[in-house]
């Protein structure tokens, strides 16, 4: 486990991407992907040039298939490269200095996984990105939805039926000054992560937790199960209520709209 002495660090969550020689991994994947797409569709091009005009009807289908073929070949090459890089330096949690070996290999891993994730999210079926995250070693349960957020491709586990919303950030890495912090993120079953939230590295969300909109978690924070957590950082916790229960509560507090609604309900009950 990573231990931080400084409390103030726990609020910042910077994540910058540095362009360097490591991004040439991406070029290898790109070129290989296009090669394979071309050589698998060469037979169709050959028939078209010979004058089988009916085959033009197959062209839209071929383009559609080629898009998927491209993403999966890049994924396959990225997977092989990732295996190779991980054999040289196995990825591990901890705090790393700038220009140390851990920092360098984190950047390698980032650039290797960049293109497959970019291309799967540019496809007409962006939900497919779950498959590619699984190939890269992220443990995802059933019915998980993560295509509308920035999710790291390592050190993350997400349980079954968890939903994430627009522009959520789930990071297992964080940059502070000249240090890189990597820590495992655990999200349980049936969780909901609201829009515009940031899940910092080391966060543990228990089962059936809701992280409210616009909130941040600290590094290594534990969110209790069965509650709504809100705030920057998420300090407040509210019990989850049904709609009727929360309306009753609001009526007690004197919110006019809900008071009238409650009175109307009581009158209806009396009539019956």
């Amino acid at each position: 486990m990573v231990q931080l002495k400084n409390n103030k660090i726990q609020i910042i969550s910077t994540s910058g991407i540095f362009k360097d020689k490591a991004s040439f991994f991406l070029l290898i994947e790109f070129i290989c992907g296009i090669f394979i797409v071309i050589y698998t569709s060469l037979w169709l091009i050959d028939y078209l040039l010979q004058g089988f005009w009916i085959l033009w009807l197959l062209v839209p289908l071929s383009v559609y298939g080629c898009l998927y073929l491209f993403t999966f070949t890049t994924t396959f090459i990225a997977f092989l490269l990732l295996r190779l890089v991980n054999k040289i330096y196995p990825p591990k949690e901890g705090i790393f200095e700038r220009d140390s070996k851990g920092w360098k290999f984190w950047r390698y891993r980032y650039w290797i996984t960049y293109l497959p994730l970019w291309s799967v999210r540019a496809l007409p079926l962006p939900w497919l990105d779950i498959a590619i995250y699984r190939i890269f070693g992220v443990k995802l349960g059933r019915n998980v939805c993560i295509y509308d957020g920035w999710v790291d491709p390592e050190f993350i586990t997400i349980g079954d039926h968890t939903m994430t919303s627009l522009n959520t950030i789930i990071h297992s890495h964080l940059i502070y000054n000249d240090k890189l912090i990597i820590q495992h993120v655990e999200i349980g079953k049936n969780c909901i992560i609201g829009p515009q939230t940031i899940v910092s590295p080391g966060t543990i969300m228990e089962e059936e937790t809701i992280l409210g909109a616009n909130s941040i978690t600290k590094i290594g924070q534990l969110l209790e199960g069965g509650k709504i957590h809100v705030g920057i950082p998420a300090i407040k916790s509210i019990p989850i209520l049904s709609i009727e229960e929360s309306e009753k509560k609001l009526a007690k507090l004197g919110v006019d709209k809900y008071k009238k609604k409650q009175e109307g309900k009581i009158q209806e009950e009396k009539k019956e």
Partner: protein, 247 residues
């Protein structure tokens, strides 16, 4: 960890719908002109390798052809829109200040036209799968000063009246906006960001913000218009306030 599907990473270029209707023809002219160099290039590629009988080389060089095509579109769209911008700037010079949010106001009108012209190259740069010559390069051409070793390709930056120093980290999905709209007022103010500044993810810098060197802005905070952040200090909150020195 690429961007969410519903959010493109092109820089923000909002255009008033009333102005967009009138000047939409400019947008199509820019797109049309920027495709001409690509067609010339593809024509030469085809005649050189296919017609002359080097078909195996034709297929072998296709990946490099696609990479070259991406950058040819980027450069040609940049050159075309830069020429358009220079012509528009000769008619009316861009300047800071508070203006009326009205089509009759010349500054508001020309700000919208500039955005309309910049939209296509910024879109091409934002959706480029390769990490070289992305948003940073295009913004630099349009007059945003960005220093060395600055990482700012994963956030939204306005395309004018901004200077960013060296070694700055702009966090993921943060936005730096040099324009604002308040009721019927429209204002443009310059933003200055010093060297070695660290910005967390989802930070919003409002117009007129001055960030000193080595300052840090914590994640998920925003600044007030015209706020000054001092050198070597930490800021955070809604709006950003000075935080105690870390021990």
């Amino acid at each position: 960890m690429s961007g969410p599907t519903s959010m493109k990473l092109a820089s923000p270029t909002p255009v008033d719908a009333r102005i967009r209707k009138k000047y939409l023809i400019i947008y199509f002219i820019i797109i049309f002109l920027s495709f001409i160099p690509l067609t010339i290039f593809e024509n030469y590629y085809f005649t050189l390798f296919w017609v002359s009988g080097w078909t195996w080389l034709f297929w072998l060089l296709i990946p490099f052809n696609i990479i070259a095509g991406i950058y040819i579109i980027l450069f040609s769209s940049l050159i075309v829109s830069k020429i358009f911008i220079m012509i528009v700037n000769l008619i009316h010079k861009p300047k800071e200040g508070i203006f009326q949010r009205d089509i009759k106001d010349k500054d508001y009108l020309f700000w919208n036209i500039r955005n309309l012209i910049k939209k296509w190259p910024l879109y091409v740069a934002g959706t480029n799968p390769l990490p070289w010559l992305k948003n940073k390069f295009v913004l630099r051409i349009f007059g945003v000063r960005i220093g060395k070793n600055t990482s700012c390709d994963q956030c939204w930056i306005s395309s004018e009246f901004i200077t960013i120093g060296n070694n700055v980290i702009c966090g993921i999905s943060s936005s730096i906006l040099s324009y604002g709209i308040e009721m019927d007022k429209f204002y443009i103010k310059k933003i200055n960001i010093g060297d070695n500044v660290e910005m967390g993810s989802k930070v919003v810098l409002m117009p007129g913000t001055q960030v000193g060197e080595n300052a840090k802005i914590f994640a998920h905070s925003y600044t007030l218009p015209g706020q000054i952040l001092e050198v070597n200090k930490n800021y955070g909150g809604h709006p950003a306030k000075l935080l105690e020195e870390s021990k």
